[in-house]
């Protein structure tokens, strides 16, 4: 496949933390028919950037996230981190799923320490204690996940992903399972956590409000087979006020553009 010289478009490769170059992904459905979820996606996420992926259902935003994680591979194009093609899951990344995916046979602390113990990182006790305090789980270290509410379980998941100090944090609709109140609280608290750690984050969401409250850049996916329709830069200081005019303006624009794509999907 002939590819034009992408370097001219992207600038020096060293500034990009995560890069997608003409990524495509097709899935085979049961009867052999192919579905092109991702058509042609190219994007570049910088170090320390908080990137949100938003788009209609089935546009491949979670799939792209899983490709960055290393769980899936693109059928076309490539995904790179720090300039190297992503070959498999590695602990330089952390992941938070919508369904928490905690290990029920481990306590809160056991879950949080899982990655750290696997990698034999030394002298982490202080870091872990601080992290537990930061996500608001002090006092619950010995509790088992099933005794905790959804919001608390997700805090454990976030702490677990950050405990081993990965370079990149991947989040797949992390607040999707939570009720509205808990969600608002979690967003607020997560901003605090993020501001302290300043990690590069890729955050997949359905919610325009969530994306605009959290992200530096919002990448809007088009309908299937998806491309990046638009990239919105959100230059507002955090924590952001949803009633503020500049917030409302960008929200209106993003929502309108998103609805266009949703219309195409729903027909």
């Amino acid at each position: 496949m002939n590819m034009p010289n992408k370097n001219a478009k992207w600038g020096p490769a060293t500034t990009a933390k995560v890069e997608a170059r003409s990524v495509a992904k097709t899935f085979k459905r049961d009867r052999g028919e192919e579905v092109a979820a991702i058509g042609d996606i190219s994007l570049s996420i910088g170090e320390g950037e908080f990137a949100a992926f938003i788009g209609p259902s089935g546009c491949g935003k979670s799939t792209l996230l899983y490709m960055v994680a290393g769980f899936e591979k693109p059928t076309g194009g490539e995904v790179r981190m720090n300039g190297h093609v992503i070959d498999r899951p590695r602990p330089d990344r952390g992941i938070v799923f919508q369904e928490y995916v905690l290990f029920p046979w481990l306590t809160v602390e056991g879950n949080i320490r899982f990655g750290v113990d696997l990698q034999n990182q030394p002298d982490v006790d202080a870091r872990i204690e601080h992290l537990i305090k930061l996500v608001g789980l002090r006092g619950f270290e010995q509790a088992y996940p099933h005794t905790l509410s959804g919001g608390m379980q997700q805090r454990v998941a976030i702490a677990r992903a950050l405990a081993y100090d990965p370079e990149l944090l991947l989040m797949d609709e992390p607040f999707g399972s939570l009720d509205a109140q808990t969600k608002r609280r979690m967003i607020k608290d997560f901003i605090t956590v993020w501001e302290e750690t300043k990690k590069t984050v890729i955050f997949v969401t359905h919610s325009v409000e969530e994306a605009l409250l959290l992200a530096d850049k919002v990448y809007l996916f088009s309908a299937r087979p998806s491309r990046i329709k638009q990239v919105f830069s959100v230059d507002l200081p955090r924590p952001r006020d949803i009633s503020e005019p500049s917030f409302i303006d960008i929200q209106r624009e993003l929502l309108a553009s998103l609805d266009e794509e949703v219309e195409k999907m729903m027909g």
Binding site: F97, P104, T107, G115, Y144, R160
Partner: protein
């Protein structure tokens, strides 16, 4: 009988505490468990004494207990009595057959869960043989191994085999892909994933399989002993007693079988189940 324990989150009990609590519950009974049984025994006693039922076919409990006392006696004390000897032999056969199955079949079940090719090979075989009742195997096994301990142990093994294999495999396969993904991302090798995720994750199912295996094996054991007990074992004792119309011994044997079965299931395995499944609050991890 269930006792709802309300504990603060984060205060799990040790395994020995669980065993003590489980045994205490069973031995001390709890009025809810014991009273209906006492009522039934009382009605039974009265019916048998008043001639409402045939005292030979359905002897009163008092006679049965007296007979049990006799069976528990010997010239050299309790531990050498006939009944204790039968009990020892039955328990030994159960332990041997189940123990063998516990080791071999748990491993096979886990392997089947992990490796698709192993699963594809063994699953049809297991599925076909599983519905065959264990006692149907006894005549064949007698031809192979004679009327011996080996026959009984083999039948016990056959019975325990399937719940263990099936549940162990299901336990592993039931672990969600995302749990494996998360572990892999955090740096776990294939080996680490097996020991730190698959094994603990499958544990609830594995334990359930073992509980089922022991329960079914105990029942099959008694039946097999009737056919091939060769002079020893609770099943043999019951079966043999009928030739003398010694119904008191038959019922005594049945009671002992029931109590032992109860002790094994509730006293040994349920605490284990509480220590894992209920502590982790889950039957499946997916």
């Amino acid at each position: 009988m269930s006792e709802i324990q309300i504990r603060r989150a984060g205060e799990p009990r040790s395994l020995s505490a669980e065993f003590a609590a489980g045994f205490g519950q069973k031995v001390l009974g709890g009025r809810r468990f014991v009273s209906p049984i006492l009522i039934v025994l009382a009605v039974w006693e009265l019916s048998a004494r008043t001639g409402l039922v045939n005292a030979v076919l359905l002897p009163p409990p008092s006679a049965i207990f007296r007979n049990m006392g006799r069976l528990f006696q010997s010239d050299t004390g309790f531990w050498n009595s006939l009944l204790v000897e039968h009990i020892e032999v039955s328990l030994m056969r159960l332990l041997a057959g189940y123990g063998l199955a516990a080791v071999l079949c748990t491993v096979l079940g886990l392997l089947m869960g992990v490796n698709r090719r192993i699963y594809a090979f063994f699953d049809p075989i297991v599925t076909v043989i599983m519905p065959i009742p264990s006692l149907a195997w006894v005549p064949i096994v007698i031809l192979w191994l004679g009327m011996s301990n080996a026959t009984i142990i083999f039948v016990v093994f056959l019975t325990a085999m399937f719940p263990i294999i099936y549940n162990s495999a299901a336990g592993v396969r039931g672990i969600s892909k995302k749990h494996l993904w998360a572990a892999e991302l955090m740096g776990a090798s294939r080996r680490k994933i097996f020991f730190k995720v698959l094994l603990p994750g499958a544990m609830p199912h594995v334990i359930t399989g073992h509980i089922l295996a022991v329960s079914l094996a105990w029942r099959a054991l008694v039946g097999a002993e009737m056919l091939a007990g060769a002079g020893l074992g609770l099943g043999y004792m019951i079966f043999d007693a009928r030739t003398f119309m010694d119904t008191e011994t038959v019922y005594a044997g049945i009671m002992v079988i029931a109590v032992l079965g109860l002790v094994i299931e509730k006293g040994v395995f349920r605490p284990l189940q509480r220590f894992t499944i209920e502590r982790w609050g889950t039957v499946r991890t997916g």
